[in-house]
Each structure stands twice: as structure tokens, then as C-alpha cells.
Amino acid sequence: MHAMPSNSLKRFAIMPLLLALASCATAPEEKVSLLEQVKSNGELRCGVSGRLPGFSFVTSEGAYTGLDVDICRAVAAAVLGNPDDVAYTQLTAAQRFTALSSGEIDMLSRNTTQTLSRDSAGGNGLAFAPVVFYDGQGVMVRKDSGITNLEGLEDKTFCARAGTTTERNLNDVMQAEGIAYELVKFETPDQMEGAYLAGRCDAATADRSSLNSSRAGFEAPDEHVILDEVLSKEPLAPATVDGDSQWADAVRWVVHGLMAAEEQGITQGNIDDQVTSATSGENQENAAIRRFLGIEGDLGAKLGLPNDFVVQAVRAVGNYGEIYDRHLGPDTPTFIPRGLNDSYVNGGLHYAPPFN
């Protein structure tokens, strides 16, 4: 038999394989942080839903807007100096994590609930930025039904979306409270909404933010109330890919910066006055605010960002409170009372660590 040629053939076949393996082994060391890549690309690739009222949608002019979108814009302003240097990609719930891990997007700002399995390396392997919206599952009923709490819903019918965690959360809570109920399931939010309006069920359950935007689209929104009880925790946070702490830190501190600005009363309107005041005005002795605004120290440089990154972000989109009010505030059709989403100063949960 011709042993020689087949042997040399094998060697030939193995060579590229070894090369490929070797390149795999060395790849992580050469890996550049996404922060540097974003800077060299000159644009931030941000994954959004594009279909969530108040969070991300397309205006009639074709521009993306919403709370999730403003987080992308703030990061782009802090990193690149221009909030418009964002490339948006619409992602569905199923695609979002793959898009992040395959490098199709740099950051995800798409109503993603922070959970252990999504954070861990054994799960989806994400790195979460601070929570930008504390959501929770709620229940909506007709006002004239006189129902004011979950107990009032004994033996009543609920509409929910099939195959979501909503169904399980409702079951958990109702079982714990010992309240019997019936459930009707629907495939899409539109169907559920239609069924609830047609009187197919006494209550509709979904995340409070989505119940709220459904209600805003009703003909008579005032005839429906969302109960105070919250059935689940849904902390929604932007995310980046695990294992790139430089990029994750940059995104995290931009979000903290938006919240810290609100705590200190720094707004889009007064940011320039604040900078002047801290540079040469009454605040020039205030080291904390000078560090925060990047006038002294090198907080930004430590992150790989310009020292005035907070100023850039706030100038572009305002502080967290302003972003919230613009998209979910009392003057919008999608009004949601701030509640947990207020700054800790006002009894909410948003609390930025010190900028030291």
C-alpha cells in the first residue's frame, strides 16, 4: 500500500488545524477592548428593541428615541463626544444576547431584566450596567369593577401572554396568597389587549410599563387602573459582553454619571453654568464637584474616557431625571409615576456611588 503519500497528506491536513488552534489560543491576549474599537470606529453600535413605547421607537421623522435610546446616546456622547454617533440595531428578545456575543453590537440597551443566569459566565455571560428602570409585573383592571387589590380578584379571569415569565410569576404569587383564579393566554400583546378590552377577562397582567403603554392607547384610559401590587422584580439594565471590564466600566460609570448629576441638580440646562462656576466661580473650591465635572483629577482618564465625560453626556441628553421625564414623565402619553425609579434622595432606588 502507499503509506507515504497518505501520511504526508494527513500531515498537510493537520497543519491548518494546528494553526487555527494556535490562533484561537493567542486571540484573547491580543483582544482590544471594545472601548478602543468604538473610538476607532467612530460610532457606537447599540442594540435596542425599537418597538417599546417610551423606551425605544421610531419617530415620524425616522429617528430613534426613548429612554433606552437616550442611554445609548449618553454613552456615545461620553465616549465619542457626539450623541448622534450611534448605529442602532433592532433586536428581538431571542436575538439580543447572540448579537452581543457575536460582536454585532457593542452594547445592549433593550429592556433586559438583570438576572443571575444572564449575568453569569455559565449563563448568557453578560456584564450589566446599573439598572435604568425598575419595572415589575402589574395587574390592570377596569375602574368600575371596584377591584383595588389582588384579593378582590378571587375567582376572576386573568389575561396573560403565553410562554412568558408573567404566567409563572402570577401563579407563584396567587398560590402563595391562596387566591384561586382562571387564566386565558394570548400570543401577542395586541391580542391580549383586545381580549381584555372585549371583556374576555377581568384583569390583564404584564410588566407595569407595558400595561401602562397599552392603557395609554385605549379609547378611555381613565376607566382602567393598574393595581399598586407588584408581582415580580424586573430590574431593566443595559448590558455589555462579559470579559471586557474596561468597556463595561465605561458604560457603567456613564449611567452612574447621569444619576449622580440628578442627585446634584446638574441638568442639561445648567451644565454650562455649573462648569463655569466650578472652574472660576463660587464652586471653584468644591473639589467633589470639580472632580465630577472633570475640571480636576483624572477620573475619566482612569476609565479611558475624556475627563469631562459626564459633562458631555449630560449636555447631550440631560441627567437621568430629565431623560425619564422626557419619555415617561407626566407630560407624556406613557406616563409612569417615578416610584422606585426616583433618586434615593426622593425615596427611590437610584443611587450613584461616589465619583472618587
Binding site: 486571540a27 425599537g50 418597538r51 417599546l52 413605547p53 417610551g54 425605544s56 421607537f57 421610531v58 419617530t59 415620524s60 421623522e61 425616522g62 429617528a63 430613534y64 448605529a87 442602532y88 440595531t89 433592532q90 433586536l91 428581538t92 431571542a94 436575538q95 447572540t98 448579537a99 456575543s101 457575536s102 460582536g103 454585532e104 395586541d190 389587549e193 403603554s213 397599552s214 395609554a216 392607547g217 385605549f218 379609547e219 407624556t332 402619553p333 406613557t334
Partner: protein
């Protein structure tokens, strides 16, 4: 039959026919009345809602989004001119061919093949225009681009596979049969998910395929399997004697395929192929569930605009109308092609 209509004035004849068709017996009368009431009230409430209750601002304000997606406004003429070119091409194809110069008629198929590269040039970059990335393509324009891309990819691939499936080389035959059966055994949405989710994971780091290209590839590979079967049906309808005749005339196997088999097979398969083309337009709407902002996708983004909350019915009715109009256009184009082939190909 004995009850042939007696000669009489026309209206009376019509009345008699109506009576015989709709009110012949008590049961017939009952069915007619019930159906008339049900259809009438359905139509009435639809019209009532359409003209009195519906708020069409959600359609009027966002026309640009439905047609061009969020294509940069400064460059929007490029998007409109491609849609315009497509429209002109449709009109030219639908016009009676005696009104057109014969050279034009002969060149029309070439124009149809060229319209896709022209569209890509106009929309993406080239010719000194500012480049526009594919994520700005959206709305009907993207749906049509996807449809055209799919058809132009699937048709040649399908023809090749149909021929390969009848090949005398066993390996080629088994591979194509396996491929076709695999594709036909999978739901399209699974293929699309594979294209959008798995391809990026398999690609080496740093490589990215635009999502539009990934969509066209998955749609095209899927559709090719169906088209191959349609073409194979056409090939099977050709009597064996023709092949024998071709061989005895000394035609090579390649010439036999090109001159004898394919022209006849494609003519037979045309209605089925046209059907696949219409289906491929409708299949693009599945991509809305994968985050593409084609016609259905952009509509869902518009519905998320707080100014138009709860306007689902208006938007979906409008979408139905647009998809219907495009499908009607496609079927009449197909009928036109069928007609012209039959006329020129009469023996």
C-alpha cells in the same frame, strides 16, 4: 331540462335567474337571507369604522417610513427613484408589447435582472453618492429588495438543482435530493433564525455579514428548494421521445438541456414559479420577528410611538392593502409573462 328560460324582456329574465339561483326553495331563501345579513353587516361595520371611527394620522404622518424606512432624509430621493424605476419597469412590462419598440421588449428581462444591482448601487453607495449602510434600509423598499434578491438567487439555483436531481451522477443526485428534502422539511422561520442567529456565531471574529445579506441568503436557499421541485415538475412533463429526437439530431447533452428541455420545462413550471415569487414577498414579513425593519417591522416601530398608541387596526389594514397591491402587481406581471411566452411559443 324543461325549464329553459322563456324568451322575455331582459330585466325579467335576470330576475327569474336570480330567483332560481338564490330563492329556489325555502332552505335556499333562508341561506341567502342569512348570508346577505352577515356579509352586509360585516361590510357595513368595516366601512363605518374605516371612514368614521378610524384615525388615519398614523398612516398619513408616517408614509415615508412605510416606503423608505429610516433612510437618511437628505438622500431620500435615491430611495424614491429606485421605487420609481421599479414602477416604470412594471408598467413597461404590463403594457401591450405592440406599443413598445421590439428591442425594448427583448431587453425587458435584462432590465429585471439589472434592477437589483441598480437598487443596491442607488441605496448603498457607488456613483459618488454618500454611502448609506444597510441598517438604514427599511419599509416597503427593503421588502422589495429582499424579494427581488431572493428570487434572483433562488431561480438559477433552483434550476440547477432540478437538473442535478435528474442527473445520472449518483453523488450529485443524492446530495441535491438530500438538500431539497432537508429544506422542505424545515419551517422557514427556523431557517431564518438559523441565518440570523447562528451564522454570526460561526463566522470568525471580526467578520460580520450584514443582516440584510443574511436574510437574503436564508430566504434564497430555502426558496431554491421549492423552485427546484417546480422546475423538476416541468422537466418531467417533457416526453422522452423529444430527448431521443434531440440525441438523434446530434445535440450534445448541454444543448439538449438548453434548447429542448429547459424552455419547455420553464413554460410549464411558470405558474408554480410565479406562485413562489408571490410567496417570497409574503415570507419577507417573517423577518419582522427577527428585528429587520421591513414593511411589517417598521410598522411595529411606528406603533410603539406614543403618539399612535393603540392604532393597530389602522396600521394592519393599511399593511394588508399595501401587501395586496404589490401581490396583485406581481401576479399580473406573471400572467403577462405567461401570456407572452404562450404567444411566441405556439407551434
Amino acid at each position: 331540462m324543461a325549464d329553459t328560460p322563456r324568451p322575455g324582456p331582459r330585466p325579467a329574465q335576470l330576475l327569474r335567474r336570480l330567483r332560481r339561483g338564490l330563492f329556489a326553495s325555502h332552505l335556499d331563501t333562508l341561506i341567502t337571507v342569512v348570508l346577505a345579513v352577515v356579509c352586509g353587516s360585516g361590510l357595513w361595520s368595516l366601512l363605518h369604522w374605516t371612514f368614521l371611527q378610524a384615525d388615519w394620522a398614523v398612516v398619513q404622518d408616517n408614509i415615508r417610513l412605510y416606503f423608505n424606512g429610516n433612510f437618511p432624509v437628505s438622500q431620500i430621493w435615491r430611495s424614491w427613484s429606485w421605487l420609481g424605476l421599479l414602477g416604470v419597469l412594471c408598467i413597461l412590462t404590463l403594457m401591450p408589447s405592440r406599443l413598445l419598440p421590439p428591442a425594448m421588449v427583448r431587453l425587458l428581462p435584462l432590465f429585471w435582472v439589472l434592477i437589483l444591482p441598480i437598487g443596491l448601487l442607488l441605496l448603498a453607495a457607488g456613483l459618488g453618492f454618500e454611502p448609506v449602510k444597510s441598517r438604514f434600509w427599511g419599509g416597503l423598499q427593503l421588502s422589495l429588495l429582499l424579494t427581488l434578491g431572493t428570487i434572483l438567487m433562488a431561480l438559477p439555483l433552483g434550476i440547477l438543482m432540478a437538473l442535478a436531481r435528474r442527473s445520472s451522477l449518483p453523488l450529485l443526485r443524492w446530495l441535491t435530493t438530500g438538500y431539497i428534502e432537508l429544506m422542505r422539511g424545515m419551517p422557514l422561520i427556523a431557517v431564518l433564525f438559523f441565518g440570523q442567529l447562528m451564522i454570526p456565531l460561526f463566522l470568525p471574529e471580526g467578520w460580520t455579514f450584514s443582516r440584510v445579506l443574511r436574510a437574503v441568503l436564508s430566504l434564497g436557499f430555502f426558496m431554491a428548494a421549492y423552485m427546484a421541485e417546480d422546475v423538476r415538475g416541468g422537466l418531467q412533463s417533457i416526453p422522452k421521445t423529444q430527448l431521443e429526437a434531440a440525441r438523434s439530431l446530434g445535440l450534445s447533452p448541454l444543448l439538449t438541456i438548453a434548447l429542448v428541455e429547459l424552455p419547455q420545462a420553464l413554460r410549464t413550471a411558470l405558474p408554480a414559479l410565479a406562485n413562489q415569487c408571490v410567496a417570497s414577498l409574503q415570507n419577507t414579513s417573517l423577518l419582522a420577528y427577527l428585528g429587520l425593519i421591513e414593511l411589517l417591522g417598521i410598522s411595529r416601530s411606528i406603533l410603539a410611538n406614543p403618539n399612535y398608541l393603540g392604532r393597530h387596526l389602522e396600521v394592519y389594514l393599511w399593511l394588508a392593502l399595501v401587501y395586496w397591491a404589490v401581490c396583485i402587481l406581481m401576479t399580473s406581471l406573471a400572467r403577462r409573462v405567461e401570456h407572452s411566452l404562450n404567444v411566441t411559443g405556439h407551434h
